[in-house]
Amino acid sequence: MDENRLLKLALDAGEIMLASGAETHRVQDTMRRILLMGDTDMVTASTLSTMLIVSIHSEKDGSLTLSRSVENREVNFQKIAHVNALSRAFVSGKVTLDEAQEEMEKIYHEPCFSLPVTTIAYGIGAAAITLVFDGTLWDALAAFVSGAVTGIFFALLARWKKPYFLATFLGGILAGVCAMAFYRIFQVDVQANNYNIAIVGCTLPLLPGLTMTNAIRDILEGNFISGTAKLMEALLIAVAVASGIAIALSFF
């Protein structure tokens, strides 16, 4: 088997998984399994926060090492699931190297849910979570509207690359402004209803639940550098969202 292409396949798999929010252990394990399909078992696959390093000891070409830095960051479980399934199929020999490479390319460009679907889903999610936190029906309605607007914003933002701090910060501002504007426009009784809960409802998925959990998992599994880096990332995202909301509230 061609070692250079094997290395590239492993890096592609690792890049997609890391960029989609998989935990470090899973990324390393997947890359390692792919590399072990070569002729030698002297392989290394390691992940340092946003950096992937793979190396293989090839008899033909000597020692080969490739590295790649992963900058893109989004949560995309579908890509994780598909790369996981593909690597299993490749390791069990059902898929050849060529097919795997082609398939990996397809997964990389895989479409997300369409814009109307994500918008409605975000709105419904925000409204339902508002009800979970003891909000009234007016709160749920406000959360639905501002959630839908935030959903559109994020779907559009995903089209081009952006620093994620800015995205969550702007998302916090947008959610806060929309919710407050809703209460103003419809003259909702602020005493009986609680706009705080509506704002929390639509900013909940922006909070770093995934990053926190992955950080803990990483630290538990001994990947201390990735884990502590992710803890800092979680802190940064939480501060970004919170300060976004704070700015929105200070307008009203």
Binding site: I124, A128, V132
Partner: protein, 148 residues
């Protein structure tokens, strides 16, 4: 019971499934994600109602969600992260983060500190609840065999 536990749990089901779409969960797994969210909030609400222990409730609820996620991951051959992240979403201390920030805005430093400590408390509870189940070996979740 109905108003304090059952109805919010149903709402948590819908909310978790809705937000799972934002995370690009595959279509067939959406209902399972919703189930994890419902389970987590159900356990949490029970603890809050009958024992007045929201923090212990968070630990137990997170442990339940993590266990469910790992069972589902074995039976549906999907990464467990998928169910786990969606499931703990309602338990993430969003209200406390918000309150911290609004207390800071009102220059209520003592309030901000106490809300901030609440954030740390709940975040820690979620971590501990996850850790208890994550340290179990994979084979612990293969008790009920998968249909081939």
């Amino acid at each position: 019971m109905l108003q304090e536990v059952i109805l919010p749990s149903v709402a948590a089901f819908i909310g978790t499934a809705g937000f799972a779409v934002m995370f690009n969960t595959p279509r067939r797994e959406l209902l399972y994600c919703g189930f994890c969210g419902m389970l987590g909030w159900f356990v949490f609400a029970l603890f809050r109602l009958y024992w007045q222990q929201p923090v212990v409730g968070t630990v137990v609820a997170t442990a339940a969600v993590t266990a469910a996620a790992r069972f589902l991951s074995y039976h549906r051959q999907m990464p467990s992260t998928l169910y786990h992240i969606s499931g703990i979403l309602p338990l993430v201390p969003g209200v406390a983060v918000y309150n911290t920030m609004s207390a800071l805005l009102e220059n209520d430093l003592i309030g901000a500190f106490s809300y901030g400590m609440a954030v740390l408390k709940y975040a820690g509870a979620i971590s501990i609840g996850s850790i208890f189940v994550l340290i179990l070996p994979y084979s612990a979740f293969e008790i009920i065999k998968r249909r081939a």
